[in-house]
């Protein structure tokens, strides 16, 4: 049975997919994953998940975020207002702009 493995490098960070292990059950998968995926790279925690239990929906079947104009959800929809008066609002704005640029740039 194949188990997908997700590694968290430091406490508080996300678990990121890092590979798999073949193991007959969850306990053995955890034992094996510790060595194969936690031995060399910095590791705080590992998840093991049966490969068949992972459900996926991708951009071919779903229109993530919708296709019609949803600019009302975004800071960029409020261009005439200056966010500089409050640091946290400005930060949120720049994060949203980065995300927007990334999705416009496609897979890069």
């Amino acid at each position: 049975m194949i188990w997908e493995v997700f590694r968290q490098e430091d406490a508080g960070e996300y678990h990121t997919h890092c590979g798999n292990v073949h193991a007959p059950d969850r306990e053995m998968a955890k034992l094996f994953a510790q060595i194969q995926h936690g031995r060399r790279k910095p590791t705080n925690s590992l998840w093991v998940v049966p490969k068949d239990e992972i459900g996926e929906v991708d951009a071919e079947e779903a229109a993530f975020g919708g296709t019609t104009d949803k600019s009302y959800r975004w800071v960029m929809g409020y261009k005439d207002l200056d966010a500089a008066f409050a640091e946290e609002v400005a930060e949120s704005e720049s994060e949203q702009e980065d995300a927007d640029r990334a999705s416009a740039g496609g897979d890069d």
């Binding site: 590979g19 007959p24 060399r40 790279k41």
Partner: protein, 313 residues
């Protein structure tokens, strides 16, 4: 996706299991990655005796860790190959044990003395790492991901190999001579690691066109010689007269192909050299010997309690 589209789109990490790729691409990628995975496993057979024979406790630890890493790399690579949907890991491991699986030329030769250790651990691993670094830009994304981790780990292997070589090169006269002898024996095989020059290689064109390979045999060999010839000389090794290698002075080299034994190389490529039979035989015997464990695990996984009393049939 048809082959023409694949060629147009080909680029670093361009394709993933979500793409509907033509069989020709998936088969070519499987062949390449399976070869790579097999080589990780078979290289470990040459090195494993030196875990025991290492002349210090620290070297023993390093050797054990290195052999462990190679098996780990095999694990990652079989996964990258499996994700192409052509063969399962089990099928590929079966092919390796029954002699159908192909692997690097250097791992078809026996390795008997400690002085030979740096030939694999420094030169062959160094050559492999050169190639692997270019494969971080391969078009099959799972393969590129595996290369990220392999290259992360492999740096220690090459340095470990160099450390063993340095110790021999700065050791007694006898050690230096043993090292030189080993070098002369292994050097042509190491040059052949990169395969024949480009005009003789058969699989290259397609693999390059679809972005699986990102450098040609010649380019890789040049890059290797540029970095590793000076290293060999630094440790006092004399480069054998044959094969003749002409330094073009511009970072490229020409290897006189006729100085190399290509008949041996192609016999090895068919798994038909004496060393091939020896190494594959080992793999086959050791895997057969633990077949019972795999089938025991299988029944555990499927919840078959075979120890429970059964009705007579």
């Amino acid at each position: 996706m048809d082959v023409e589209t694949v060629k147009e789109r080909a680029g670093p990490r361009e394709f993933s299991p979500k793409d509907d790729l033509p069989e020709e691409y998936r088969k070519a990628a499987t062949r390449m990655i399976q070869f790579h995975a097999n080589s990780e496993i078979m290289g470990a057979y040459l090195e494993r005796p030196f875990i025991r024979q290492a002349p210090s406790l620290d070297r023993k630890l390093a050797f054990s860790a290195k052999v462990q890493d190679e098996i780990g790399h095999g694990q990652l690579l079989y996964r990258a190959a499996e994700s192409l949907g052509i063969k399962s890991r089990e099928e590929m491991l079966d092919e390796l044990a029954n002699g159908e699986g192909k692997f690097l030329n250097c791992f078809h030769y026996p390795m008997e003395s400690w002085a030979e250790v740096p030939m694999i651990a420094f030169f062959v691993d160094g050559a492999a790492m050169r190639r692997q670094a270019t494969l971080k830009r391969t078009s099959w994304e799972p393969y590129a991901h595996a290369m990220d981790k392999v290259c992360f780990e492999e740096g220690f292997h090459v340095k470990h190999g160099e450390d063993v070589m340095r110790e021999l090169a700065t050791g007694s006269k006898k050690e230096q001579q043993m090292l030189q002898d080993a070098f002369e024996q292994w050097w042509p095989r190491i040059i052949q690691f990169f395969g024949p020059t480009d005009d003789q290689s058969t699989h290259h064109d397609f693999s390059a066109d679809v972005g699986l390979k990102t450098m040609t045999n010649d380019e890789l060999r040049n890059a290797f010689l540029n970095a590793y010839v000076p290293k060999a000389q630094k440790y006092g090794l004399e480069i054998p007269d044959e094969p003749r290698i002409r330094d073009n002075g511009d970072g490229t080299y020409e290897v006189v192909e006729d100085d190399l034994d290509w008949e041996e190389f192609f016999t090895i490529a068919k798994n038909d050299a004496p060393g091939s039979h020896e190494q594959i035989g080992k793999r086959s015997r050791t895997q057969e010997a633990v077949e019972w464990v795999r089938s025991g695990l299988e029944s555990w996984e499927h919840g078959e309690d075979t120890t429970a009393p059964q009705a007579a049939d």
